[in-house]
Structures are given as C-alpha cells and as structure tokens.
C-alpha cells in the first residue's frame, strides 16, 4: 500500500472505532465523559477558525456558547419551538453578534482584540446573571434555566440514554473537522494564512484581510453557538456562571493552543490529551487538591509555548508521517509508487 492509502485506511479505522464505541462501551459514565470530550473538541475546532486560521486570540468564546444555549432553551421553553430550530436561530444570532464585535476589533492589535473579547464575554455574563427578563424573554438570572423532561425523540432533541447524544456530537465534530479541512484548502484558508503571516503583502496580492477575518469570525461564532444548544439539551440545565464563564473561554483557548492552533488536528489532539487530565484530576484530586487540573493546564501551556509554540500536534504529526513512511516502505509496491500525498513540511497539516 502506498502512503496515502495507509493514511486513508487509518482514518477509516478511526471512524469505525468512534462509531462503534457505544456498542461496546455500555457504561453511562464513560459515554458521558466521551460526549464531553467530543464537545470540547468541537468547541476548540470551531475556535480554531478565528484563533488559528485568522491568527487572533479570542478569549471570550463562551459568550457564543451561552447565546446558543439560551436562545434555543428560551424558544423551546416559552414558545415550544423545536430545539433544532432554536439551534439555528441561536447560530444566526451568534453570527450577528460575532460580526458586530469583530468589525472594529479585528483590525486592532492582538492584545486589544483579546481584551475586547474578554470584556464582551464578561459583560454579557454580568447582564445575564442579573436580569430576569429581557423584554418578553425569561432569562431567570443567576438561577439559570432548567429544561423539564419532555417526550423522548429526535423532534424534541431529548433522549433517555447517552448513545443518541454521543452520535450527534460525534457527527457535529466530524462535520466541523471536515469544514476546517475544506477551508484550509480553499481561497479563504489561503487568504487567512497569508493575512495572518504578512498582512501587508497579502493586501498587495488582493486579499482583503479584515474581511477574511470577519468571515472566519462569523463562521466560528455560528458553529460555537450550535454546541451551546447541544450542551443545553444534554445537561438540561444552563446557568451563566457555567456556560458564559471565563474559565470555559480560557479552557477552549488553552486546549487549542496546546494542541496547536492553525492546524486541523491540533485542537482535537489538545482535547484528547487534556480533557482526560482534567477529568482524572477532578475525580482523584477534586477534594484534596482543588484546582490541580488548572495548574497542570497552565504549566503545560507555558511549557508548550516555550518549546513547541506550534503546539503538540507538530511533533505528533511528524511522528505519524514518519510511521506512514516506514509502513509504506515496507510494503511490496513501495518502489513502484514512490512518494505521494502531502507536500513536505511547508504547507498544510493533512491530518
């Protein structure tokens, strides 16, 4: 088999395993952990469109999660609208907000953009936490909103077991990864890369850098909001401190940064590596050493920035490509096929 064949086989295998997991793993606890793992992987990959491809540092993305969650929940609770529809409405709302915030701030220096996102997210949280009604909509302040059990089924986005949620978030995750891959190979992807590396040169080549970043921001906000609805339907309880929290915003950013922003696999790899750390340290150290997992996050973040600023995906991808090469060489028709697949080092992460 040649290199790209092995690569495709590996991916197919991975997909098979992912889809097959609920058939083998029956424990609700583990499924729950996996659902949250995919949830974070989805969030970080969506974040990556702005934080990685557009090259800025958004630190308030939880705001979009909150917008998505609250929109679909309110529409469902107060007006009986299906959460799926609410999900889309939430996405559109988040997109509008993202564009409005992005218009003036994406042109600024990185630090100012980061600050603006923090201020906006915190401002939103403060408002939601302290008002009960926004016009006709019941936000219920700090107590948050609880979703009462309804008839199970797809239409209500409510299920008894964890399995349906598992598949939904898995499909969402695959979707967003595919989207990211497509963008990286598209005009938008090239333009974002160029604008991030050398904005003046990019502009002289016909790239409207500000507009490209805005498009990325719009996409990212939309996708992030969808996850908010998912979270609401999964946990059936949302409140400002958990869903519009600075901690969530930072965790998303940290994971993406440690995994490797700007690459396709980085955010997912980051989630795969760090979420278990977070879960385990919470389970085992929760009482004795509170906050341990955040210390680990912080320390890993600093170490990665010092030694592997492009993220852990870089050495991991290189190792993977090395393995691919070795396996391809060992196969009988290696000599006939020579090299195929991704270009050396320079341009994109294919996996």
């Amino acid at each position: 088999m040649n290199r790209s064949q092995i690569n495709t086989a590996a991916f197919a295998g991975l997909l098979l395993v992912a889809f097959g997991v609920p058939l083998v793993v029956r424990s609700a606890t583990y499924l729950h952990i996996l659902v949250l793992l995919y949830f974070y992987a989805y969030l970080t990959t969506s974040w990556n469109l702005v934080g990685g491809f557009a090259g800025v540092l958004p630190l308030g993305h939880a705001a979009f999660v909150g917008i998505g969650a609250y929109t679909s929940t309110i529409l469902s609770l107060q007006y009986g609208i299906s959460p799926w529809l609410g999900m889309l409405v939430g996405g559109v709302l988040a997109t509008i907000v993202g564009v409005v915030i992005g218009l003036p701030t994406l042109k600024m220096r990185g630090a100012y953009f980061a600050l603006a996102t923090i201020a906006f997210a915190e401002g939103l949280r403060v408002i939601v936490e302290n008002i009960d009604y926004l016009g006709p909509f019941n936000l219920n302040g700090p107590r948050g909103l609880q979703i009462p059990p309804m008839d199970n089924g797809f239409a209500n986005f409510m299920f008894a077991g964890k399995e349906p949620y598992y598949y939904i978030i898995l499909i969402l995750l695959i979707g967003v990864l595919a989207l990211t891959w497509l963008i990286s190979r598209s005009k938008l992807g090239y333009y974002l890369n160029a604008g991030g590396e050398e904005p003046e040169a990019a502009m002289a080549l016909g790239v409207n850098v500000a507009r490209a970043k805005l498009v990325a921001m719009a996409m990212s906000s939309f996708l992030t909001a969808l996850a908010g609805t998912f979270y609401a339907q999964f946990t059936l309880y949302i409140h400002p401190k958990s869903i519009i929290s600075l901690d969530l915003s930072f965790e998303i950013a940290f994971i993406a940064l440690i995994g490797g922003r700007g690459s396709i696999a980085g955010p997912v790899l980051g989630a795969l590596l760090l979420r278990p750390v977070s879960d385990f340290s919470r389970i085992y150290f929760g009482d004795t050493l509170p906050g341990m997992h955040l210390i680990i996050f912080g320390a890993v973040l600093i170490l990665v920035m010092l030694f592997q600023p492009r993220g852990l995906q870089e050495p991991l991808t290189r190792a993977y490509h090395g393995l691919l090469d070795r396996w391809a060489k060992e196969s009988p028709d290696a000599a006939a096929n020579g090299h195929s697949g991704s270009q050396g080092g320079a341009a994109h992460a294919d996996s």
Binding site: P104, I118, A119, I127, N130, L246, P290, I302, M305
Partner: protein, 295 residues
C-alpha cells in the same frame, strides 16, 4: 444631593486605588509592549503577602510595605527573567508577541490555583487592623478612612514613579528602551535587564496596591480576577503606557461604580463599565493619554 457628593468622594478615593492597581499593568505595557494578563494574580499574591506579614507580625498593614515591596519586586523580576524572557527572545521579530500574552494567561491560572491549593478557598481579612471600618466625618458625610489612606498612597506612588522615570538614570534607560529598543541597546543599555526591572517595578506597585486593599478588602485566591479585568479597562481608558492615565482611568471607573448605583442597579453599573470600555476601544483605542500606535 449630599449622597452624590459623598459617593463621589468615596468613588474618587476608591478609584485612585484602582488606578494604583492598574499602574503596574501600564508600566509593563509601556516598556515591554505586552499586556500582562497575570497582573491580577500578582496583585493577589501581594495581598496574601501583606496579609501574612501582618498576621504573623501584628504590625500596621502599611508597615508591611517594607516586606511586601521588595518581595514583589524580586518576584516580578525573576518571573520575567525566567519565564517570559525566553518567549521574548524567540519572538524577537514578530510584530506582536501574542505568545507572551498566552504565557501570562498561563501564569495567571497557575498562580490562582496554586494559591487555592496552598491556602484554601476561604476568604480572609484582617478584622483587628487599626484601619478597618474607620470613617472620617466630614459634616454629614462619611469618608472611608482606609480608602483615604489608599488615595494618599496612590498619589504618592504615582508621583514617585513619574519622578523615577523622568529624573533617574535607570528610569530614563527604561523610557529609552520603551521608545526604541534597538537604539537603546546600541547605547549600551541591556534590553533584557531593563525588562526585568520594569516588570519588577510593575509588580512592586501591585504590591503597594495590595497593601492599601488588605485593610478593607477580603483576600481569597481569585480576588485578582476582578481587579485584572478592571485593570485592563482602566488602562485602556487612560491610555496604555500612560502613568497619569492609569490614575485618571481608575478614578473614572471608581466614580462610575460609586455614583452609578444612585441611578441604577449595581449590575447595570458594572455593565456600563464594560460598555464604556468597548466604546473606548472602538472610538479611541489609545485612550485619554496613550501613545498612538498603528492599528
């Protein structure tokens, strides 16, 4: 009407303390061109240092300055030297050192949670300290004494820092580096040493601010977060890199926070502060006194 005057005075006093907390942030930005996201955590560290200094020795909180200031200075100096300098060197030619921002955020998380781990989540304060709860009667108005002390400390510190940068040799070297690091290094100034010193000074002023806060503010692991965010707002309002700007920005925020509740709920006051911040960012990002940058 009287309440508004009283609120205003207390607002100015508290605002000056806010300005003092933000002073380090603006110094570090002015010199290193970096927004130190860990600044609130450094403030928190200072507050714990002051708390323990007072609790163990029983002295007046303001006397703890003798310990807190040098400790904080060296903490900041070595933090910059060991953790942040390598990133700086790696990103020497990058237009904006975003990685440094990321690293300071990591430091924030580590410091806050390490403190949580070591000292626990409980709120601490100094119930017996001589300043607690003291009020000064001015006619029918009550002025908070600890805040008054804070105000005086803030003004003295700001004046002192200003004088330091204008008149002393080190201060001028720091200013030179902040204006043009290559030219300064050609003049024999060790750029990285300057960064260390600037970071140390910024952290030390956070220590001073911490001492003024400890008599009346609770001490707990995440106390720095709110000051961190307010610090950003203040520093953008007043102009990043401007020392008088930090004080004025702080006073503006302090005034809004204390006079605002007369007209609206405290929540909306907070929302107004964030809103004002966003407005300034959009309209005049260089703030009231800040340096002009190419946006």
């Amino acid at each position: 009407m009287l309440y508004i005057v009283e609120d205003s005075i207390n607002g100015i006093l508290m605002g000056s303390i806010y300005g003092l907390t933000a002073l380090g942030l603006t110094i570090i930005f002015g010199v290193l061109k970096v927004i130190n996201f860990a600044h609130g955590s450094l403030l928190m560290v200072g507050m714990y240092a002051a708390y323990w200094a007072v609790t163990l020795t029983g002295v007046n909180p303001y006397l703890s300055l003798v310990i807190v200031v040098p400790v904080m200075f060296f903490f900041g100096y070595y933090l910059q030297d060991i953790v942040i300098k390598p990133i700086f060197k790696a990103e020497k030619n990058v237009r904006e050192p975003i990685t440094v921002i990321i690293v300071t955020t990591g430091i924030w998380y580590i410091l806050d949670n390490l403190t949580l781990l070591i000292f626990g989540p409980q709120y601490r304060n100094l119930p017996d300290n001589p300043l607690r709860g003291k009020m000064l009667e001015l006619g029918d108005m009550f002025i908070s004494v600890p805040k008054l002390f804070g105000f005086i400390t803030a003004v003295v510190t700001v004046a002192g820092i200003y004088w330091f940068f204008q008149k002393t040799r080190t201060g001028r070297a720091i200013r030179a580096t902040s204006l043009d690091r290559e030219a300064a290094s050609l003049m024999g100034i060790n750029q990285y040493k300057i960064y260390n010193v600037a970071f140390g000074i910024g952290t030390a002023t956070a220590g001073i601010a911490a001492v003024t806060l400890v008599p009346f503010n609770n001490v707990f692991p995440t106390v720095g977060v709110l000051f961190d965010i307010k610090g950003f707002i203040i520093v953008v309002l007043g102009g990043l890199g401007s020392i008088p700007g930090a004080l004025i920005g702080g006073i503006i925020v302090g005034l809004i926070e204390s006079v605002g509740p007369e007209f609206m709920t405290a929540t909306w006051t907070e929302a107004i502060v964030y809103g004002l911040f966003l407005v300034v960012l959009f309209v005049k990002p260089s703030g009231l006194f800040g340096m002009k940058y190419d946006w």
